[in-house]
Each structure stands twice: as C-alpha cells, then as structure tokens.
Symmetry: C2
Subunit: 214 residues, 2 copies
C-alpha cells in the first residue's frame, strides 16, 4: 500500500474536498485561501493546509490554492480522470434511483446495464439502460467490460449473487444489502458497504441523547 | 454530552454490533463468547470485550454474552426501544426505495407520509403511504408528530426545503442531497448526511490503487 505517501485518513477526506472544490469551480472561483475554505467546510485551516499540501498546487502566502489544479489532482487520486463502467444488480427502486443519478455519470461512473430476477422487468429500460435477467449475468460479464457492480438486492439474495459476480471476474462491489459482504468474499475483491439502517440508527441515537438532555 | 460515559468511537460501532446480535437472535443463539463474535465480525476479541463491557450483560469466563440482553441494551442506547415517526420529502425513486424498506419499520422507524413537488404524484400511495404536495408541509408538521425527515431531493431544492422544515419545528434530518446541510442549519438540528457519491469515490480510489499495484 504505497498511496504516494498519503495517509488513509487524508484519503478518506478527499471526496469531500473534491466536492467543495467542484462547487468553487462551478462558481468560477480560481483561487482560495485555506482560511476561506476552512470557513466553508468547517474544518480548521491548519487541517486543510496539512491535507492539501500533499498535492501541491499551493502558491505563495496570500496567493491561495489553485482550485482547478487541486480539483484535478484529487480527481486523479480518486480515479475520476477516466470512466468506469458500472452495472446495477437489483432494478428495484434503489437500483433505479442509482441509475437515475446524473451526477455519477458526470463523475465518470457509467451505468451500462441493470439486472433483476423479476421477469416483468425484462427488456424495460431506465434512462435508456436496459434491464436484463439475472441469469444472463455470467455471459454479460464475459462479453462486456464491467468494473463496478452496484448490488441493490435484499440480503437474502445478495450473498449468492455476490459469489456469482466474483466467480465471473468482478473485483469491485458497491454493496447496499444489509450484510458485510467483504467478510465472505476473497480479500482481493473491493467492497464498499452502504448500510443505510446504520446511518438511521446514528440519527436516532443523537435524537435520543438530545431528548435526554432536555 | 454525557453518553453514560460511553465514548463516541464505541457509539459509532454500536449499529454494527446491534446488527450482528440481531442475526444471532434470529438464529436462536442465546449466548456468544467474545471469541466467536470476533470470528464473525472480524474485529479483535479484545476490542469486542472493551466495547461490550460498557453495557454489562457479560457473565463469567466461559459463559459468554447474553445475546438478547445485549441486543436490548444496545437498542435502548440507539433509541430503538420506541417508535419514531418519519416523513420522506422527495418521492422519487430514492424516496420510494426508503418507503419500501421493511427493515426500517421493523426497527421502529415508521414512515407516515411522503411529500413531493410533482403534481402527478399527489394522492398516490407507496406501501399505503400517501404522497402529499410539498406546500402542505408546514400544515402537516403542525398537526402530526414527526420526529425524523428523510430528505431525498436534489441539492438545488434541498437547502430551501430544509429551511422550511426547521422553521416548522423539525429537529432531525436524514439528508441524501449532495450537500452538507449541517453547515447551514442551526446547531440544535441533528443532520445525518448520506453522501452516496463519496462512497462511490472511495470504491474508485481503491480500484485505482489496486490497478496501480498490478
């Protein structure tokens, strides 16, 4: 794990920097000081200086960061400087919601197909992307270049389908099922789990704590 | 912030313990040792002992944890021992996906209404839950007990709607819009941001790093 010498903690914060720098670009801001960025992001200026000095693109004192340059550099580290073909397995509401997110495509994540088990969905399209039947998955994976699979199936189906994906060469799974897929798959498979109910429980915890303090 | 003496780091890990303990309950497991739980969760047994000893429910050496007791205690800390009424503002695919999640309702998060701006959605139902028009929000919030608002609107609309929610007494927002709402709202409003694109970027970062190492 080389990471060009950048720590894991910094890497974790990069998507957020990338988002704020993108907003500045949209607002045609060319340069920004660590103090101004600190004000926007509610992170200390010294944290920002430490984090962003990993990437260069900072000028003299009083000059500030070059927004476009930093945005580009961080984008490259995150692998956003090229396209990634993605398929979505599970064409229910969540799968369709992901297919409809224009911002993923703009960041280079291109949804090329959806898959589902329900026969009534066969041949339907979501944003002009076709829904295939799940038994066509192995064939599809061998004849198309797919880098990322978003898995939006219930937990009861997700584990078995993940095994099929991995057996057919998939190396990166964006998992929305309520189970830690990374614990059951080979180590070289990258899994990013999105556990929505855990996020809701953190909200509930904070709400409960606030009520107790009243 | 009293937290009954429990650290923030432990709190952050609680939803995951709660999930694993829930699975054990489903499998009719009554007791589990820290070693067995460690094996399942891929966390060290000593970390588990440190974390769970905050809640009692551990017996003599060789006895293990009482699964039902611990599950209950953690549930109480997370505020899951009572119901929370939730509304979903944004009845697109993502909002409908949330309304369809049976597991939220089983954890006590009861969706009581959806709201949207699109006139064609007025009066429709999702899982028997009615879709209202967004201009009915203030009236609804004053006549119903709503604790949590899931905000599944595009960023361009989310900021203004969040202001309306807060002006009408909402104190907890589960935000799916691509912006950090907590930075623009009063401090006493609890915001849990779910930034899906940041999760996708972490996946892309790991994929890129793995390819570089080949």
């Amino acid at each position: 794990m080389e990471d060009k010498g950048i720590s894991r903690a910094v890497i974790k914060r990069l998507p957020r920097y990338y988002r704020y720098l993108g907003e500045l670009l949209e607002d045609h801001v060319e340069r920004i000081s660590s103090g101004e960025l600190s004000e926007r992001m509610k992170v200390t200026a010294s944290q920002i200086r430490q984090d962003l000095n990993n990437f260069g693109g900072f000028g003299q004192q009083g000059y500030g960061y070059n927004v476009a340059y930093l945005h580009d550099e961080i984008g490259k580290i995150l692998g956003l400087n090229r396209n990634h073909n993605m398929i979505i397995v599970g064409a229910g509401h969540l799968g369709q919601a992901l297919a409809n997110y224009g911002s993923f495509a703009r960041s280079g994540f291109k949804t090329v197909a959806l898959f589902d088990v329900k026969p009534e969905l066969a041949g339907k399209t979501v944003q002009n992307i076709e829904v295939h039947m799940i038994d066509e998955l192995p064939e599809y994976l061998h004849t198309h270049h797919v880098e990322i699979v978003a898995l939006t199936l219930p937990k009861s189906e997700a584990v078995a389908v993940a095994d099929v994906l991995v057996a057919n060469g998939v190396r990166a799974i964006w998992n929305f099922a309520h189970t830690d897929l990374n614990l059951t798959l080979p180590h070289n498979v990258i899994v990013e789990n999105v556990h929505l109910s855990e996020s809701l429980m953190r909200l509930s915890y904070n709400l409960t704590r606030q009520e107790e303090q009243k």
